[in-house]
Symmetry: C2
């Protein structure tokens, strides 16, 4: 087990040094400071090999994604990420692998000024658990609750590319050769919508990040907010890679049920519609209005102005 102690020096080699970290890695605990006018936002996500990423995924991607999925949760609350704790279980010590893993972790930490403040390294089947923390002005955090009937439903970026990448890896879909690289990049190196999260904090009534898939995650907003929603499928931001590789029905299915997009799904009142569109557009963030909330407590979808039946796995075959 001594070698597991020795790899700690990899984790000590970060460049981020935050002023609010009173004591970082190296003692029994870390010590951080927060101010009275801020709330602290906390999230934990585990990635298990063979469940959350395929067995031969490159180490840098695993490091990146472990951080990204947690920062995406913080983004959905409108929080600015600040500190992470990292627990990694490894079958054996492969220094080159660990160096690559750390590179993936630290790239994202440096980009968002997040300090690794502690963690644990243990022996066992490969899995990574990160607890990420962020800061938000007091009582200004976003949540899944707060959406109202009549609010507009928005999503950042494009949907379905990560799911298409996975279909490609599994050999279920053939995509054009020049799409492969960008699609794998999208699956392995998701970019958490931290900036967008901080911007929509001033406009959105509810928000969630898209990890399970649009229908499933919208269901969480509807349940927490006690509303229903209609999605206009024609409006979904499908990338060219989807529309070129798949029939319309299959493309839409990946976009609404594929998961792993790590885009933000959020709701905005009529009064804040212009504001949020202007603010995100100024920040260079693509956003698309994909539907509207209602009082039905169910999720419906329309295509070409006609209702089409769906479930959380996608929409049922239509003719």
């Amino acid at each position: 087990m001594k070698e597991f102690e020795l790899i700690k020096h990899f984790f000590a080699e970060q460049n981020v040094k935050r002023k609010d970290v009173v004591m970082g890695i190296g003692d029994d605990c870390a010590v951080v400071a927060s101010s009275e006018n801020q709330h602290i936002v906390v999230t934990t996500d585990t990635l298990v090999e063979g469940v959350h990423f395929p067995k031969d995924t490159e180490a840098r991607a695993i490091g990146h994604k472990s951080v990204a999925v947690n920062l995406s949760d913080l983004a959905a609350m409108g929080a600015q990420p600040s500190w992470i704790s990292l627990a990694i279980t490894l079958p054996s010590v492969d220094e080159a692998w660990i160096a690559e893993f750390c590179a993936g972790v630290f790239e994202l930490c440096e980009f968002f000024n997040v300090e690794l403040i502690g963690g644990d390294t243990t022996q066992g089947p490969l899995s990574i658990t990160i607890t990420a923390q962020g800061l938000v002005p007091e009582n200004q955090y976003l949540s899944r609750a707060g959406a109202k009937a009549g609010d507009w439903l928005y999503v950042t970026g494009e949907l379905g590319e990560a799911a298409l990448a996975l279909q490609h890896i599994l050999g279920k879909v053939t995509v054009e050769e020049h799409f492969v690289g960008p699609l794998i990049e999208k699956l392995n190196y998701p970019k958490p919508r931290v900036l967008a999260g901080e911007i929509i904090r001033d406009y959105a009534s509810a928000a969630i990040d898209l990890s399970d898939g649009l229908i499933s995650d919208l269901g969480h907003i509807c349940q927490a907010s006690n509303v229903g929603a209609n999605i206009v499928l024609d409006a979904l931001p499908l990338s060219e890679k989807l529309t070129n590789s798949l029939l319309e029905e299959d493309a839409i299915n990946l976009a609404i049920a594929g998961g792993d997009d790590y885009e933000l799904l959020f709701t905005v009142s009529e009064a804040n519609k212009v504001g949020v569109e202007t603010a995100l557009s100024n920040a260079g963030v693509r956003l698309t209005c994909i539907g509207q909330l209602n009082a039905t407590q169910t999720i419906t979808t329309t295509l070409n102005n006609k209702a089409v039946p769906i479930n959380s796995a996608g929409f049922e075959h239509f003719s």
Copy 2:
């Protein structure tokens, strides 16, 4: 994977509701509040089946220990525990097992008024990662650094019982029948020294919790504080269970190298000696002065006033 979603309701059934938890389990993140005069102390520990606990350990013990080892780290900083995030990876969903596991987690949380604020449940080989947070008055946390030559070395409680329990389970040592129950209890249900940690905050120059073993953990204090130490082996608080079951040399070895004690090891200046002894004694916490620090940067031990050679695995055979 749906059943993993369903078990979340077990984790929602806690009784602790803290005022500083603005939003608990159930959204993308939890939201907590802290005050300007407090620092937040953060620690993460993973327990892996087969590494940190034997394969047939009862679920309640695993739950208890997962929390206890983290609260023990907070205690070593002098912090009052406040919130935990729990990530559990399970091979399959066994509701009775999970209910027992939660009982173990919540017993300790309720005792120390700690709220479970979030987590993640995933499928894979059994392991538990907890991130625990605590509060400490600004700049009053303890650390491994700060011990000075001349300071006295103290330990709470008794040493070696958890290690003896493990030796018994592994069939390496025979103990008297009436010791078995209490020893297994000590191994499976360690009591983190939270109260003692808060008390010694006002007196100690450095502190650590005993997880790896006395020699190894004292080494961390010596390294961080740039000091050495001599341990008076005759003074070690060995329980009757050790002295009855083992030869003196073996008992001392378990006490200095066994690990899993989760007692506090701390250093106190001459000026604070009476104060800390009085304060802990008033709180009903046993404490023992087991040696003194010096400027040598090495750890030595004496028995019957004679130097005996040691290493981190115990002391070398003496005649």
